[in-house]
């Protein structure tokens, strides 16, 4: 149904919308095209976002945040993503892992880190699982010895020593605090030997390797995390020793992706072009535009519905997972159609204006982001009704 937002919630969505259009959209094309991957992130904008109260959107009220529910989070990131998907994802990752930082840390960890996170206007969060040898294995929790992350952590006196490399990590190089998963019983399966650690960026032995250059979503930094004898104090053990998989399971149980932000932008750019050039008088263009509208509205209602349930007992991981698959496919189609309407200029890079081709490049990241779409389907399958009918 129509999201039944409170006036305060509606205000946050409005602020996000304003920042996206006023501050992000005008600079996104230039940064996408001309900035190296490790310098593309617009830090000045995250400060505006912070000033609007949007960086700490999901921080509980008792800590001074907005305490946003999943639905609001989905709507805010969609608005930000209209400006740029990369900026939205950097924020979305932070929103998700804020819940770890505020609710699942020990009192000691909160004492040490929460204030800093709240006060540092540029503090972002990241979670790191993917490694060169293990992507889908970790996502699907292929629980065999040898499968999954290889990064190791061993106890050494009052601390843990981590060694290994993560890659493709969203906010890798941007985030101030990292939730990092390492093997603590290397010979065992993930379910028996994976542990999560809270690692601040300034930890000795922790460096950012390559900032990956990508097809799209280029304002977001996806970084390589290189941990060489990285020593983390024992107090930074996050969750249970050898209990990392339970955390991972919750964290990858379904993303509410802000993919409709760029899709809506592409639609707006296409509709404007169709009217301006006169193509709107052709039936195919009218059919294409209504299909785009349809895919956007179907995706948004599906995503919002999954988010709405996210705060309720009816929360359902398969609904969230499959809304990601649906919306990413739909978004790619929408942007592709927008490019078609832009005609021969549809594949041209521009530094100085929004284009559907950037939307398309950005959105393509969701073919693999938060699990390849095929892997997500396999992840959702065991959650289908066991016996008899689905509880629709």
């Amino acid at each position: 149904m129509q999201p039944d937002l409170s006036p305060e919630e509606a205000k946050m969505v409005g602020l996000a919308r304003e920042i996206a259009r006023r501050d992000i959209l005008p600079i996104a094309a230039e940064r996408d095209r001309n900035y190296p991957p490790d310098q593309a992130y617009p830090w000045e904008i995250i400060e505006k976002i912070d000033a609007a109260g949007l960086r700490t959107l999901t921080v509980p009220k008792k800590y001074g945040g907005f305490g946003a529910r999943h639905l609001l989070q989905a709507m805010v990131t969609e608005e930000i993503a209209y400006g740029d998907l990369g900026v939205a994802v950097s924020l979305d990752q932070t929103y998700k892992f804020t819940r770890l930082l505020t609710d699942e840390t020990t009192p000691d960890q909160r004492d040490r880190y929460l204030d800093d996170f709240l006060n540092d206007t540029r503090a972002l969060l990241a979670l790191a699982t993917t490694e060169p040898q293990s992507g889908t294995d970790t996502f699907l929790m292929y629980d065999e010895p040898g499968a999954g992350p290889r990064m190791s952590a061993r106890e050494d006196g009052d601390s843990y020593v981590l060694n290994g490399t993560k890659h493709y990590i969203s906010n890798g190089g941007l985030a101030k605090y990292y939730f990092i998963f390492a093997r603590t019983a290397p010979e065992k399966k993930m379910s028996e030997g994976l542990t999560c650690f809270l690692v601040p960026r300034d930890t000795a032995g922790f460096t950012i390797g390559e900032a990956h250059s990508k097809l799209g979503r280029r304002l977001l930094q996806n970084g390589e995390l290189v941990l060489q004898d990285c020593r983390v104090p024992a107090e930074n053990l996050f969750g249970e020793w050898n209990g990392g998989l339970a955390i991972l399971r919750r964290m990858v149980s379904g993303a509410l992706i802000p993919v409709m932000g760029p899709s809506r932008l592409a639609y707006d750019l296409a509709l404007g072009a169709a009217r301006r050039t006169g193509l709107f008088s052709e039936q195919w263009a009218r059919m294409a535009l209504t299909e785009m509208y349809m895919l956007i509205e179907a995706s948004r209602t599906f995503l919002y519905s999954a988010a709405w349930h996210g705060d309720r007992p009816t929360d359902d991981s398969k609904r969230r997972l499959m809304s990601k698959v649906f919306a990413s496919d739909a978004g790619i189609k929408v942007c592709r159609m927008a490019m078609e309407i832009w005609g021969k200029t549809g594949d041209v890079y521009h530094d100085d204006r929004p284009t559907p081709e950037k939307c398309w490049r950005d959105v393509l990241s969701y073919l693999h982001g938060f699990g390849t779409n095929e892997a997500v389907k396999l992840k959702a399958a065991p959650l289908l009704a066991g016996e008899g009918e689905e509880e629709w």
Partner: protein
């Protein structure tokens, strides 16, 4: 019927494959990375190819060309596209214009009109359409303040005066010969190197893919074409539309198929190496079914293309409607093949260090490089 390639097809295929491997592959990534679109056109490489006979492969043998027919050109074009889509389509455009001139005018006129092209290893050809009215498709999609006026032709004594901009001309800056189709009155001209002097490159587009090719706006400033440039006597327009223009749709498809094949090969290789879930991912149906779709769509595309090209190689053989639709069908198949291949690579496919995202950009640009799919369908519709 006989579907076996001939010895000459195979020999040229081997030659082109070797050229792609030894000459094209080493330089394509650098071209792709070059930011300035006016600096990407690989003159030197194209001259190397010219020395192997690739540039003039479609020119009559008696004029020093390769004398290859459209079917043979498909074999060569696929291998060049396996090398690089931009470079392959540059040669394909040379072939198309060369065949057009030969078919419309015969071999004697050919030498007069394209003599410069034959002799100059750096000369390329292009084509420009001057519509009676500017089409919606040719207008810029954004607010075009300051855009030059669209091209128009006006009768001027014995000839026509041409003024204004033609958007998105392939290899327009490198062209030393330009086939001009004037919609009103229906007439065809070939503007050779001297006439091209009055034509300026007004803008280089920075395309996402096929970056080794040029995509430019050409600006005619009181350009002139005269009866000397005319290719056919009045009334030859039908021949152009039904027998010659289809070459411009189908020949570049061979290049697209080559790029799709290269993406598929890379996906196959990755799927054999990459282990997840305890086995190479090629053994998972999630991946294996995608690779099967690739094979099926490439097979269908190749057969359709060969049939069109074969028909175009015979007198009176081509069916314009089928050729137009083959263009749409094949390019859409190849785009899907490239995208699926990128998907097989998972997150790695999205990274610039892997070749996969480039293949996807190339194939996507191909869909924007000539007439758009919707426009081709609208054209085919009238021939149902």
């Amino acid at each position: 019927m006989d579907f076996a390639p001939e010895e000459t097809h195979l020999a040229l295929q081997r030659m082109a494959n070797e050229f792609a491997q030894k000459e094209i592959h080493p330089i394509v990534e650098e071209i792709d990375r070059e930011k300035d679109p006016s600096k990407r056109f690989p003159h030197e490489l194209l001259e190397k190819g010219s020395r192997l006979g690739l540039r003039t492969l479609a020119a009559p043998e008696e004029k020093g060309g390769g004398g290859a027919d459209p079917l043979t050109l498909c074999f060569v074009g696929e291998e060049l596209g396996w090398g690089d889509l931009g470079i392959a389509t540059t040669f394909a455009l040379d072939w198309c214009v060369s065949l057009a001139v030969e078919r419309l005018c015969g071999r004697e006129e050919y030498a007069r009109l394209l003599g410069d092209f034959l002799e100059d290893g750096s000369a390329h050809l292009t084509t420009v359409h001057i519509p009676a009215e500017p089409k919606p498709e040719d207008r810029p999609p954004y607010d075009g303040g300051g855009e030059p006026a669209p091209v128009r032709a006006e009768r001027d004594g014995e000839g026509w005066s041409i003024s204004g901009a033609v958007p998105h001309v392939a290899n327009g800056d490198a062209a030393k010969g330009c086939l001009i189709s004037l919609e009103s009155p229906r007439a065809l001209f070939l503007l050779g190197a001297p006439g091209m002097d009055g034509v300026k490159t007004a803008r280089f587009y920075d395309n996402m893919g096929m970056r080794s090719r040029q995509d430019v706006d050409l600006l005619f400033e009181n350009g002139r074409i005269s009866e000397d440039h005319r290719l056919v006597p009045a009334g030859g327009w039908d021949e152009w539309e039904q027998r010659v223009q289809p070459l411009f749709w189908i020949l570049p498809c061979a290049a697209a198929l080559g790029t799709a094949r290269r993406a598929h090969e890379a996906a196959l290789e990755h799927a054999r190496q990459r282990v997840q879930g305890g086995v190479p991912i090629i053994e998972h149906q999630t991946v294996g079914f995608m690779l099967c779709e690739n094979v099926a769509e490439m097979n269908a595309s190749r057969r359709l293309l060969q049939a069109s090209a074969w028909a175009a190689s015979r007198p009176g053989g081509t069916e314009s409607r089928d050729d137009v639709l083959a263009r749409v069908f094949i390019s859409e198949c190849c785009e899907r093949v490239a995208r699926r291949s990128m998907e097989v690579w998972g997150g790695a496919g999205y990274m610039t260090e892997a070749p996969m995202e480039r293949y996807v950009r190339d194939m996507t640009s191909f869909m924007h490089a000539d007439e758009m799919a919707h426009s081709l369908r609208a054209r085919a519709m009238t021939m149902l």
